[in-house]
């Protein structure tokens, strides 16, 4: 009985798997004998479970039932492990309470605790009640494997449980169960350094401490894909394509917009044409009616006025004639010296009175000589009578002749007058005729002039021009507004960009400061670590190592007084002296209250780990900081990018609308000019026609005037001829009259002379007689002369009496009324003129109105024609085309509206534009395809377009691309990718560092193993001369690259990602570093792909080589030993190595003070080993406080070397019975 140390003393299975009950002692080398499938391995697993308490690490394949279900089939299935201690033993119960749980019981195992009187296993409650009843302490239920192991390996802090330990482990105690497990699980493998590596590594690491290459590869792939996408995006060709796409999209969009606008106009025009047809016809008819009515009114008014004008003209003619005749008479009277005649006539009365007075005077004077007087008077009277008779006769003859010639003259004059009148009439008629013609032409001329005025005043296309002008004004107003908005938004963009840049700079500065600060801190901590490592590295050879090895509890003595630097000096050559007293160079010190200054290796290790943790924390916090900086960057990019994107989009839209508006304005101006030009042309055309007519009329008028002049000349000539002839004839007549009269006068004169001579003779006789009778003849003569003078004067007056009378009568009747006539004539002329003006005015008004109406009517008719032509054209040439189908919706939904364009023009333009649109669209599509084709199908920008994508999809692609560019999303992507490369390298570096951190432990373990091999006492058998082991650098390509990445990461810190793609603000160095980083990741990815390894584990970090010499055979330094000797030898060597490993791990993982314990090494199947070797092996193990548990297929004598041998037997009910074989331990 080994009772001075702790050991698993016993295992009891109650209702476990196929074993109903078994109670096996294990406190020595134990051997299980039984054929395969009898439960040897199951039992070994149950033992292993005691150490590992891990159901997953028991080597149960996934096809088999899990440990819990296979072992603990029943409610009352129990595994009981009894542990022997220095005092009394305790045991652990393992049972299933949903999951596997443990209870520690402070007593030696006793079957009575578990079975009732009928040998039936109790339920746990009953068991516990029984224990309670017996006053035996049992622990609370231990629910976790971890806690169980803590208790078992002595790290439990609960005082009630702290006594239930097998050994006192240190912080690495987990290696003990791992090592035991690994030996059990690997015992069937051949000897390969990889196994040892695995063993060591598995013992040191957990399942999670490996680098999962699938995960790394995924990260690398994701990074690489993003990187490639960004690289593709940033390529010059891609940027060029983006520009092309953007440009073409605008063009396509604009063309589409135009087409839609045009389609809408076409629809509107068509609807308008259809709906307005009837209305236009009616309007045209109404205009015709209006025209007819207008003409009728005009004719009526004109006739009325012309009638009036005729009357007035007659009046004018009458007065004109009267005035002319009066003037003529006046002229005649003047010619006859009427004024003198009238003057003389006024003296007639006075002369008559004077004559009467003279006669009476004469009579008075001649009264004395009456008889003589009478005689002579009678004679004289007779003579005078004769003379008078003669004179009368001559006068009568003269008068006759005078009258005859006068009559002839009169006749001549009458004839002349008649002929003149006829001629005048003829002239008047001709003139009238010509005048009428001239008047008609003049009217025509006036009308044309009026029409010209109307044309000049008419504003053709007034509505269209007005509409254009209004549209232009509206457009300019909107333009103005848009320009201001554009200016504001451009300013906003600049402000935002500055703000963004500032923020980025701030973040960048803050990041670089943080990096600097962290790196400084890391450098400082690394220096401290290095100092600790230096200490640890030299501690073996320094005073420290010496004290550790040779002086027990030196920390409480020397550790309190010695300088720390001194402890790690290697040049002190410490030696133990015989003086065992606690003294310092012979001086005894009481050190109870002195603080220990020295530190244990664990404390140094702990400090080092603490510092490593600090570095990790620093890096982690830097990472966090960087991540948060990136997040802030991304947030800013998101915020500003979105704002900028929206603003840029707005600016683009505004610029585009301004551009469009500019084009539209130009177009409108051109159209306006066109309309004005058309209006002018219309005016010019109308005026040209008018002018031509005017010229013709003017020419005709001139011809007519010429004709009139000619006519007047002709008539004047005729008048002159007639007048000359008449005057000549009258002159002739007058001449003849005068001749005849003068002849008569001469005759008369002679005769009168004779008479007067006779009278004078008589008078003289009378005188003589008077004288004779004394009568004053002188006085009588004087009176007589006076009488004669008066008679002559009166006679002369008498001669003009008729003329004066006529004159006075005419004066009274005609001449005095002449001013009135002139006045009246002028009034009538004025009236006539007014009437002419009035007629002209109404003619003008009529013409204007007529023209207006005609124009309107013509416009309606033209509109109608245009409507019909348009509809026909649309039906024949447009409706069946694909263009119609494309815009059918818009065309059919359009509201009826009048547009400035004809349906025909719109159709033609639409067809023409569509062909242009198709060309542009094809180019646009080509650019999009080419651009999208540059990316992977699953690119992270989602730049994908199917070949059969619709127009909408292509346009959406372009829109998204534009947003992407405007919102500068590439920067987000770059930031993400930069973060990703940082995270990937960081993650790799951390993992590699974590993993390589264990390398020191491996180095340590290997050195211990090597040490242990050296200590092995193979001398007895001389079978194995030595086993050597050494570490070499790993050949693993992936690990090498991972390591390079980690080194790179450490060398360059976290800043290199800033240089990723960015050429603006990163330095050349950053770019170079980034390129190197990307290359390294790329190489790693390729290596992972080529190597096809799932993970990099601790064992991949180093190569392990053995050199074993067995007899004369030496393997040399190799990592794989195919065969050293016989199978038995191989098993032996393997077992030796396992035991060594186990020993080393146990030693390393247990507390230094804890040495009084033993553990089991479970190696199945050692049947081929020779008895001699087995003995050697058992001894080798025993020397290291390790008990062997082995499996043998059958009894072969080997079992005699074990303290306990158990046999397995399958019973009829398929249960397995395990019973001890009676053997004697030969030597162990």
């Amino acid at each position: 009985m080994e009772n001075n140390c702790r050991i698993l003393n016993r295992i009891v299975e109650i209702n476990i798997a196929n074993v109903k009950y078994t109670d096996l002692e294990l406190n020595g080398n134990t051997c299980f004998v039984g054929t395969n499938n009898f439960g040897k391995t199951s039992l070994q697993r149950a033992i292993l479970f005691f150490y590992s308490a891990n159901t997953r690490g028991l080597g149960i394949s996934s096809s088999q039932k899990p440990f819990e279900e296979h072992y603990f089939k029943f409610e009352n299935s129990y595994l009981v492990y009894e542990i022997q201690t220095e005092q009394k033993p305790f045991f652990v119960i393992v049972y299933r309470h949903n999951k596997l749980v443990f209870r520690f019981v402070d007593a030696a195992y006793n079957p009575d605790f578990f079975f009732n009187e009928n040998d039936e296993a109790l339920k746990i409650k009953e068991i516990l009640a029984g224990l309670d009843k017996r006053g035996i302490f049992f622990s609370q239920q231990i629910d976790t494997f971890e806690r169980y192991r803590n208790i078992l390996y002595g790290t439990e802090t609960d005082k009630q449980l702290s006594k239930f330990y097998l050994l006192k482990g240190n912080e690495k105690y987990q290696n003990i169960p791992k090592s035991i497990t690994n030996v059990f699980l690997s015992s069937k493998s051949s000897i390969d350094s990889r196994f040892i590596k695995d063993f060591i590594a598995n013992s040191l690491t957990t399942d999670t401490s490996s680098i999962k290459l699938e995960q790394v590869d995924r990260q690398l792939r994701q990074f690489n894909e993003k990187y490639t996408d960004i690289e593709t995006f940033l390529k010059k060709e891609s940027q060029q394509l983006i520009e092309f796409i953007d440009k073409k999209y605008d063009q396509v969009h604009m063309l589409k917009g135009q087409q839609m606008e045009m389609a809408d106009k076409l629809g509107s025009s068509l609807r308008y044409a259809e709906t307005q047809n009837e209305t236009v016809i009616k309007a045209s008819q109404a205009k015709q009616e209006e025209l007819d009515k207008l003409s009728e009114n005009y004719e009526e008014q004109k006739t009325q006025l012309e009638e009036k004008q005729k009357d007035v003209r007659e009046e004018i003619g009458y007065y004109d004639k009267s005035i002319r005749e009066a003037n003529k008479k006046l002229k005649e009277y003047k010619e006859k010296n009427i004024e003198a005649a009238v003057e003389k006539n006024t003296e007639r009365e006075k002369l008559q009175v004077e004559l009467n007075i003279a006669r009476r005077e004469y009579e008075t004077l001649t009264s004395n000589v009456q008889s003589i007087e009478m005689k002579y008077s009678a004679l004289i009277e007779q003579l005078r009578n004769d003379k008078t008779a003669y004179i009368n006769k001559v006068n009568s003859k003269t008068s006759e002749i005078f009258n005859h010639y006068n009559e002839l003259q009169l006749l001549q004059k009458n004839e002349y007058s008649k002929k003149e009148t006829d001629l005048k009439q003829k002239r008047e008629e001709a003139l009238n005729e010509l005048g009428a013609e001239v008047t008609a032409k003049q009217i025509e001329y006036n009308e044309l002039k009026a029409e010209e005025k109307v044309i000049r005043n008419t504003r053709f296309y007034e509505n269209e021009i007005k509409a254009q002008e209004t549209e232009l004004a509206d457009l300019r107003a909107i333009n103005y507004k848009n320009k201001s908005e554009l200016a504001i938004k451009t300013n906003l963009v600049q402000t935002n960009q500055k703000e963004w840049e500032n923020l980025e700079n701030k973040l960048k500065t803050s990041l670089s400061n943080q990096i600097q600060k962290t790196n400084n801190e890391i450098i400082r901590v690394k220096a401290e670590i290095k100092a600790i490592e230096d200490k640890l590295n030299v501690q073996h050879d320094a005073l420290y190592g010496y004290l550790e090895k040779n002086v027990k509890d030196w920390h409480t003595t020397i550790g309190k007084v010695v300088n720390e630097d001194l402890l790690f000096r290697t040049d002190l050559n410490p030696t133990l002296t015989d003086n065992k007293d606690v003294s310092l160079y012979g001086v005894s010190l009481k050190l109870d209250d002195v603080q220990v200054v020295s530190k244990s290796i664990e404390e140094y290790q702990f400090e080092k780990n603490e510092r490593l943790a600090i570095i990790r924390d620093l890096e982690e916090s830097l990472n966090q900081f960087q991540v948060s900086t990136n997040e802030e960057k991304m947030l800013a990019a998101d915020k500003f990018g979105k704002q900028l994107g929206e603003l840029k989009e707005d600016i683009k839209v505004l610029s585009y609308s301004l551009e469009l508006a500019e084009k539209r304005e130009k177009k409108l101006i051109l159209e306006l000019e066109d309309w004005k030009q058309r209006a002018n042309t219309e005016i010019e055309e109308a005026l040209t026609g008018n002018r031509q007519k005017l010229v013709i009329v003017e020419e005709e008028l001139a011809v007519l005037n010429k004709r009139k002049n000619t006519l007047l000349n002709d008539f004047n000539e005729q008048f002159d001829k007639l007048k000359t002839f008449s005057e000549e004839r009258i002159a002739d007549l007058k001449n003849r009259q005068e001749t005849e009269i003068s002849e008569l006068e001469v005759e008369k004169k002679n005769q009168v002379k004779e008479y007067e001579e006779k009278e004078a003779q008589l008078s003289s006789e009378k005188e003589t007689n008077f004288k004779a009778k004394g009568v004053d003849s002188k006085e009588i003569k004087k009176i007589d002369a006076r009488i004669k003078e008066l008679q002559e004067a009166l006679k002369e007056i008498e001669q003009y009496a008729q003329l004066v009378n006529d004159y006075l009568k005419d004066k009274r009747d005609i001449f005095d009324k002449l001013p009135d006539f002139i006045q009246k004539k002028e009034e009538f002329v004025k009236t006539a003129n007014d009437l002419t003006t009035e007629i002209e005015e109404i003619a003008r008004k009529y013409n204007v109105k007529r023209m207006e109406l005609n124009k309107q009517k013509r416009a309606y008719e033209e509109e109608l024609i245009e409507f019909n032509n348009g509809i026909n054209y649309f039906t024949k040439n447009f409706r069946e085309t694909p263009v119609f189908n494309k815009y059918a919706d818009i065309i059919e939904r359009a509201e009826p509206k009048k547009t400035n364009y004809s349906v025909m023009d719109l159709c033609t333009q639409l067809l023409k534009n569509d062909s242009h649109f198709n060309e542009e669209y094809t180019a646009f599509q080509r650019y999009v395809n080419e651009f999208a084709g540059k990316y992977r199908l699953e690119n992270h920008f989602n730049f994908v377009i199917r070949n059969d994508a619709t127009q909408g999809e292509y346009e959406r692609f372009a829109q998204n691309l534009r947003s992407f560019v405007n919102e500068n999303k590439i920067q987000l992507s770059i930031a993400e990718t930069a973060t990703q490369i940082s995270l990937v390298t960081e993650s790799i570096a951390t993992k590699v560092k974590e993993l390589s951190g264990q390398k020191d432990k491996i180095q340590h373990i290997i050195s211990l193993i090597a040490e242990d091999f050296k200590k092995a006492e193979f001398e007895e058998s001389k079978l194995i001369e030595y086993i050597k082991i050494r570490l070499e650098d790993s050949d693993n390509k992936v690990y090498k690259l991972l390591k390079r990445i980690q080194e790179f990461r450490e060398e360059n810190g976290l800043i290199y990602n800033e240089g990723l793609f960015n050429t603006d603000f990163s330095t050349h160095k950053n770019r170079e570093i980034s390129t190197r980083a990307v290359k390294l990741l790329d190489q790693l990815r390729t290596a992972i792909k080529e190597q096809e390894q799932e993970e990099i584990r601790l064992q991949d970090l180093f190569e392990l080589k053995f050199n074993i010499k067995e007899g004369l055979n030496e393997t040399g330094w190799t990592h794989k030993i195919d065969s050293i000797g016989s199978t038995g030898t191989d098993i032996l060597v393997k077992a030796i190595i396992y035991i060594t490993l186990l020993h080393v791990f146990i030693k390393e993982s247990s507390h230094r003070s804890s040495s009084d314990f033993k553990v089991h090494c479970i190696i199945d199947e050692v049947g081929q080993i020779s008895a001699h070797y087995l003995r050697e092996l058992l001894r080798f193990a025993k020397a290291r406080n390790i008990m062997m548990i082995n499996g043998l297929p059958n009894k072969s004598g080997l079992e005699s070397h074990y303290k306990y041998t158990y046999q397995f037997k399958r019973e009829e009910n398929n249960n397995v019975r395990i019973f001890p074989s009676i053997v004697t331990e030969v030597e162990a």
Binding site: T228, T232, E237, T922, Q925, R926, V928, N929, E930, F931, A932, G933, K934, R936, L937, V944, I945, R946, N947, D948, A949, K1079
Partner: protein
């Protein structure tokens, strides 16, 4: 290491030669076997000059197209040129077919043979064009299009991007075919018997 030490050539020189010496193209938008990477390497001016000098020694000349590269032989005999022309001849009808599709197939386009076959089936004109294409004996339109795609993939004008969905992408080298088509000058042979089509290359 990016470059081989002896000639200061990129380490991908062998890969580049392996592709182009087979008469294939290296296109910038090809993704299989790192084709775009190879393109970038040749496109690097320093690399280009070195590669050109290197390949010229073995009488190969790198020709640069619109986003693609290929080899031509220095002093190529006429018989070789004729062979090239013969090889090209079959593409005239294919390009004609591709250009006549509703959604014209051009550089960067992604399509599946079924889509083309379906469109050809629905459009008599396209169907005739497809049937007119010589050298193929497939019975169904779909198989014929597939064979065309196979041929074009072999000649590195197309890339089978997704085998599962049988999705092809048109590579930049397709421009080569278009360039040649555009370089063909057709003369009216009515005037003279001597006149003939001239192909510029």
């Amino acid at each position: 290491m990016e470059e081989t030490t002896n000639y200061n050539l990129p380490k991908q020189t062998h890969d580049i030669f392996a592709v182009m010496a087979r008469g294939n193209f290296i296109s910038s938008n090809g993704t299989r076997d790192g084709m775009n990477r190879l393109y970038d390497i040749i496109n690097n001016p320093e690399n280009f000059d070195r590669l050109q000098a290197y390949f010229n020694v073995i009488r190969y000349n790198i020709e640069r197209g619109n986003n693609y590269f290929y080899f031509s032989r220095l002093n190529e005999p006429n018989s070789e040129l004729e062979k090239k022309l013969e090889r090209f001849e079959r593409y005239i009808d294919i390009i004609d077919l591709f250009a006549s599709m509703d959604n014209k197939i051009g550089v960067g386009s992604r399509f599946r043979p079924t889509e083309i076959a379906e469109e050809c089936n629905a459009n008599v004109r396209l169907k005739q064009k497809l049937q007119k294409i010589p050298l193929y004996r497939s019975e169904t339109l779909h198989n014929k299009v597939r064979e065309i795609c196979d041929l074009m993939s072999r000649d590195s004008f197309l890339e089978l991007e997704d085998e599962k969905s049988e999705s092809y992408k048109v590579l930049d080298s397709y421009n080569y075919l278009l360039d040649i088509i555009n370089a063909i000058a057709i003369y009216d042979d009515a005037g003279s018997e001597d006149t003939q089509g001239i192909v510029y290359n």
